[in-house]
Assembly symmetry: C2
């Protein structure tokens, strides 16, 4: 049994509420090294310690907000050990998805928050602070870009004009799947690589046919399924890989017709 719509709506509302101060914290720090709030200026690459500091601060803030309101809920994030591992409700966080882009001032990075119940995704938020674009959704309640409801328009087949987003090649190398990357690049020459969650949100928005990425962490994918499905799209697991006690996820998502067509290249 899933939680009631009332419970889901309340979790959704909380996730949006918690995102706002995290966005502000990240924008302030981003502005400090990119001289202009991420929108303009002299870009000095943030060094690793700055990135770690912002990552830690944003995750700490989110954990405080979550635990203050939901002390029995679990929290899984990149920077700290899991909290309440056996809880039914799990908040799964990536405070800065795309730290490589963030560190260089590329404004497409984002905050990812997923709320799952016994493994079922209920709520998803992907927020792009520097682009002022917030994607959010909840099971049965639709998916939104800022305040506008999303509705993916399906496509019948992968025409040359259709865009496909791939993860960066190094992600495929991680599991020895770079041949899939290379073959697909040759098959369909109209690919984009954004690396961070900007590719995920392009698929959620229906702007691209599909996004395919290999070797993501749980916190990278925690918001995807509910967002893309609530927007009318398709989410497909392409398998997982175990690295020590960590599970890495391979996923495809987007317009159902395109996802179905390209699956054979990646399965």
């Amino acid at each position: 049994m899933l939680p009631t719509a009332t419970t889901i709506a309340e979790l959704y509302s909380s996730a949006l509420e918690f995102t706002a101060p995290a966005r502000q914290l990240i924008l302030d720090k981003f502005g400090a090294f990119s001289n202009g709030g991420g929108r303009a200026g002299v870009t000095l690459k943030a060094d690793a310690s700055v990135v770690t500091e912002v990552d830690l601060a944003a995750e700490t803030l989110l954990r405080q907000l979550i635990s203050a309101r939901y002390p029995t809920h679990g929290v899984i994030g990149e920077e700290f050990p899991p909290l309440n591992k056996q809880a039914d409700f799990q908040w799964i966080l990536d405070p800065i998805d795309g730290t490589n882009n963030f560190a260089h001032g590329v404004p497409t990075f984002g905050i990812i928050i997923g709320v799952h119940f016994r493994g079922e995704p209920l709520v998803g938020v992907i927020d792009h602070p520097a682009l002022d674009l917030r994607y959010s959704g909840a099971r049965g309640m639709g998916a939104f870009c800022n305040d506008t409801r999303l509705a993916i328009v399906d496509a019948e087949s992968l025409t040359p004009q259709e865009i496909v987003c791939l993860g960066v090649r190094s992600n495929f190398v991680g599991s020895g799947d770079e041949q899939r990357f290379d073959d697909f690049m040759k098959f369909h020459a109209n690919c984009r690589i954004y690396y961070d969650c900007f590719g995920l949100t392009r698929a959620i928005h229906g702007q691209v046919g599909a996004q395919v990425t290999f070797n993501l962490n749980l916190w990278d994918v925690s918001a995807c399924q509910v967002l893309v499905e609530e927007a009318g799209g398709m989410y497909r697991s392409l398998g997982t890989r175990q690295v020590g006690d960590k599970t890495m996820y391979h996923i495809a998502m987007g317009k159902p017709g395109i996802v179905r067509e390209i699956l054979p290249y990646f399965e």
Copy 2:
């Protein structure tokens, strides 16, 4: 002899003035098919006729503004025949760079305006209407993102963390240079592909080490050299290709240390 600083400043001011109504026209049209001004909403792919219509309307507007103020200047643009081909001053336009992204609602497309004097680039503007980011610069006067002056910070060598942007693979296929694309992708697995001028502006902003693209039109590259050089970066021609009476340009630009290091892969 180049024109005086006064003349360059006046041309620069005019280019910025002309960009504003073109941005508004494009945003209005973009909003009409993406339901929300390009920032949110249900994205329906614009059909080819809509894209052509917006392209034509924006170029017509820019041509009218230019010719009203500078009736003797030349204008070169994608959609109409060249005007005043022998003039010393040439305005070189791409009203929508990245029509494939524009048509799908991906907000990274841009307006490109370059003003050249006897082939020397004097003024450059690359405006991203849907991202509210305007890159501009003029010879001897610096380069700016919105109102903040840019200063590229050089890098000594291509570390794995350094980002390189490539054009879409199909651009390399155009001249049989796809092997360069494939080889570089394998050499440096931290590449992005934005396709449109968002890659150019990442390099101008110093956010990525370099941008390398093959088979661009004159109007795609007309603003690049002055912008990246005024920002403190390096611009390198990688040669040209003649297709009928059209010249296609291969270019690399970005942080001098990175551009120099990767040139051998593309020359």
